[in-house]
Symmetry: C2
Subunit: 382 residues, 2 copies
């Protein structure tokens, strides 16, 4: 199903709007938390669903990892339990699955024109993932949006390596498009590669658009380049993407990269950052990062953020969070995850408001001040 | 503050009623989950507080472990953050702290008339816990009910060992009673020892009652004896305890032991069993234990219990729980913990109803059939 961006406001190249799928509608820009194995690491689905910002924003889209789900519990099992929505209890909100490619390429697979063969990190068995099998598996998983299998090269990389990734990505994208059957209730996104080579980015974007996908992602970023290189590559790709369809920057989720990508016309983001940082006791606040493990917080009876309305800030003092996280208690991760997800939802909500209000540049300056030191993150497990 | 049992119904020796403290009122019989370090292992306080059975029962009392809290974050820190209630965000419901003695005695401490000296499992430092320091620390922690420091002997034990434990427990109880200052808003419970020696149980109970405590606990059970020995020892102790005060059986929480102890006049229970079993994928149901990791549940789209109204049973198929717990995902523990706590609250609620309805014997027979094979549990960490 082809997706369109219904634009409500814009500010320079930044867009605010909504995307309507077979399931319903989600607002953009949108941040999608990563539910690696069908759940984010420390919140059950119903707990994740109850997270609400002070202005009422909730999680609208969640990402599941095909690499993990296809092996455990397996696509057949997920399908028999009603697809990811039935399996995870995510109700009537949206889900997106990646193709598994990003994880597979981190395992140094044997890549041929056919597909990528890798050894499972679960049981050592050999698995061949092809453009067609990635589509079929994701049809079984049944998310609202699925992604083509692409070739992602780490950076820095030679032009030859990047060109070959673009070439194979284009061939695989065509095969994925032909293989996709579940076209009435599921959308298939193409992925732009090209690394930090601006010419290749444009070429990859053009070739992907020629295949006429339901939406477009920019992949192969946040894999070793600087934020400046990332933004240049992004601009080159976006220049070739249709204005009326959603654009998704894969795996990038630090606040400064998000707002800078939005300013260049990106609509969708996923990242493990808020959940992974939470597990290590790093809390996101309007003033930047806060390492709750520091001893100065031991007797601190104030909440993490005094103007945050999340369950963590409403109920618990910093001293408790410091104690629980220092002692490795799971409840510390739970409370930190609730706060960080609430914060990033509120952050993206602020970006949407700034687009509508024409104040995005002021917000960009503020975010740059608080977040420039945090590098873009890209890791396997959310 | 002296606590009384306000009896509403009885059935044989079993009592149903309520206990009113400086903070409020809780119903009995009551099951108290163990929040080891200020939180149960996989639910934040507000998540634990929202657990509700189909008839509306919730957790009314939670137990915190002094051994852990006195070392991390320390009693001073907990006190400065408003005591355990402020620290944990447990609102206006009840808390009880143990004295730390049970954990200390599992570390083979050097015991003198003065107290018990042990090496900390946190940092190896030497710590002396005395009857007076246990009271003082628990005053700082600020729970509604605190326990005296007692001497708990593992079973089987010689009569000499049991007699010496009874003797020292009595001396320490007298010192604890004298040391207790926070008498207006905190209750101090004495503890009956005596192992499986019925004469010593009676003697220990008499001597504890002579000291006139705010309530009475039976300790030193579920430490190696059979359930039959436990029940005989319990009867001997209870025979000497005042009828109008609450009776608390420490650390015992398997369903059959709970209902058999209730039938003998016990009002309060704590145990790590529902939370610890949950972490290992053992779910409590009206038909007995269910090991969710078994392969037969992989594609099972039914809930754990079809007539259970907990968040887990309302939202998730067995197949998901099996997957999450098999993969070691924290969310699996979370969902299993929600179910097990809901189940045991409902179980104790059923016991209260059976007392009122005069049907306790029928329920005992049913419980014996489903739960006889589960042994009483007693472990350090909840």
């Amino acid at each position: 199903m082809k997706l369109h961006l219904d634009l409500s406001d814009s500010c320079g190249s930044a867009r605010r709007g909504s995307v309507t799928t077979a399931r319903g509608t989600f607002q953009t820009p949108v941040f999608m938390p990563v539910a690696t194995r069908g759940a984010i690491r420390s919140l059950a689905t119903h707990q994740m669903a109850s997270i609400t910002t002070k202005h009422g924003a909730q999680i609208e889209v969640v990402l599941g990892n095909t690499y993990h789900l296809m092996q455990r519990p397996g696509a057949d099992t997920v399908e028999s339990l009603g697809g990811l929505h039935g399996f995870t209890g995510w109700g009537d909100r949206h889900m997106l699955t990646d193709s598994g490619g990003f994880q597979v390429f981190s395992l140094s697979p044997k890549v041929t024109d056919d597909g990528a063969e890798f050894r499972s990190t679960y049981d050592g068995s050999k698995i061949l993932l092809t453009p067609e099998s990635a589509v079929r598996i994701q049809e079984q998983l049944g998310a609202d949006i699925q992604m083509v299998l692409d070739v992602c090269a780490g950076l820095p990389a030679t032009e030859d390596v990047l060109r070959s990734a673009v070439e194979r990505t284009a061939q695989w994208a065509a095969r994925a498009k032909r293989a996709h059957r579940r076209t009435t209730d599921q959308s298939l996104f193409g992925i732009v590669q090209g690394g930090d080579n601006l010419g290749l980015r444009r070429e990859s974007a053009r070739r992907t658009v020629e295949l006429d996908f339901d939406g477009y992602a920019i992949g192969g970023l946040s894999v070793g380049e600087t934020r400046e290189q990332m933004m240049e590559s992004l601009e080159s790709a976006i220049a070739e993407l249709p204005a009326d369809q959603p654009r998704y920057l894969m795996g990038v989720g630090d606040p400064l990269s998000i707002i800078e990508a939005v300013a260049r016309g990106v609509d969708m983001f996923d990242c493990v950052l808020p959940t992974r940082l939470a597990r290590h006791g790093t809390l996101l606040t309007d003033n930047g990062r806060l390492n709750i493990k520091r001893s100065e917080f031991a007797n601190d009876d104030s909440p993490v953020s005094s103007d945050c309305t999340c369950e963590t800030c409403r109920n618990y003092p910093r001293g408790l969070l410091r104690h629980l996280i220092s002692q490795g208690e799971l409840t510390g991760q739970i409370l930190a995850t609730i706060h960080n997800l609430t914060w990033i939802l509120g952050f993206v909500e602020d970006i949407r408001s700034a687009i509508s209000g024409g104040t995005l540049d002021a917000l960009r300056a503020e975010v740059a001040q608080n977040w420039a030191s945090m590098s873009p993150e890209r890791k396997d497990v959310g």
